[in-house]
Symmetry: C2
DNA sequence: ACTCATATGGCAATACATTGATGGATCAGA
DNA sequence: TCTGATCCATCAATGTATTGCCATATGAGT
């Protein structure tokens, strides 16, 4: 099996695994009316380092690596649900910090139990070493693809 | 770093890598007016084992692991572009074989060069062992997620 | 014949995700 | 002050991707 065939199968698995992640992940948090993308945003905003002041839209885009137009729609839905708020910054009038509301905070805490169960389920037959290995390989692949994506678009 | 944090980062990388794959992959075949999903379908149909008679919709769904409604839309677009045709089967009137048209065959051959370049680019700093390792891990993750997905929906 | 399962297609709703173009508000430097 | 860059938002188009429900046609077994 040559490198082309390996690459072909590798990307097919990436495609399948990603679709299944969205499908099963969204199902895991569906009782909260959430999706995997909203879960990713809430997770980013719940991190201790940014929990207080929130994150700028720009930083969120860089963190999640999605387009601004896409993120705006997700934030609109989260804002509509009252889980997130956009606050103007004192220092720089252009910036807006997106941060969790009190309701968003509670919501995230409740979701966390489901998410833990989901992770445990999805990675049941993966050792911690396997998880780390897969993480590092995906990290490299992401960087590699990000390099291709960024080469022409800036 | 506990298992939860590892899992969290792992799935974020999967999310990012998948988005970047679609973004850069679609760009790589954009001159043919194709997308990564259409590329996946054409690739499935071009395999020697099924090139002649084609595949049933059911088999395509199992191969790509997407929903019927999603695949139907992709097939409609491919059929509209004249790259694919749905043929009735003699043995079983319910089945339809999806197969490449002559135009689809030519189109795929031309795309193949771009795809090879893309694979080489995306996996430039991956050894063959790395590729195999990542493939096997993604394969296991896909199976694991597929097990979760299939547990309740059948 | 009748019934049940299978295979496909259609319609609708919702949510991602991209590109492209446009506009407005703000900041920083010449 | 003017000029350009930055940050955010909006509108539009296209293409995934899911769920749910209904319809049709065919096959298989009783």
């Amino acid at each position: 099996m040559g490198r082309f065939d390996i690459a072909n199968r590798l990307f097919l698995r990436l495609y399948q695994a990603s679709n299944l992640m969205h499908k099963t992940g969204t199902r895991a948090v569906s009782v909260f009316g959430a999706t995997t993308q909203q879960w990713a945003v809430l997770g980013a905003l719940s991190r201790p380092a940014v929990h207080q002041r929130g994150m700028t839209v720009k930083d969120l885009i860089a963190f999640l690596m999605v387009s601004r137009q896409n993120l705006t729609a997700v934030l609109d839905r989260l804002e509509g649900a009252g889980l997130v708020e956009r606050v103007r910054i004192v220092g720089d009038g252009r910036l807006r910090h997106v941060r969790l509301t009190a309701a968003g905070d509670r919501n995230w805490s409740e979701m966390l139990a489901s998410i833990r169960d989901y992770y445990a389920d999805a990675l049941a037959d993966f050792s911690t070493e396997d998880c780390l290995l897969l993480f590092r390989l995906l990290d490299r692949l992401r960087d590699s693809l990000g390099r291709i994506a960024g080469a022409e678009s800036e």
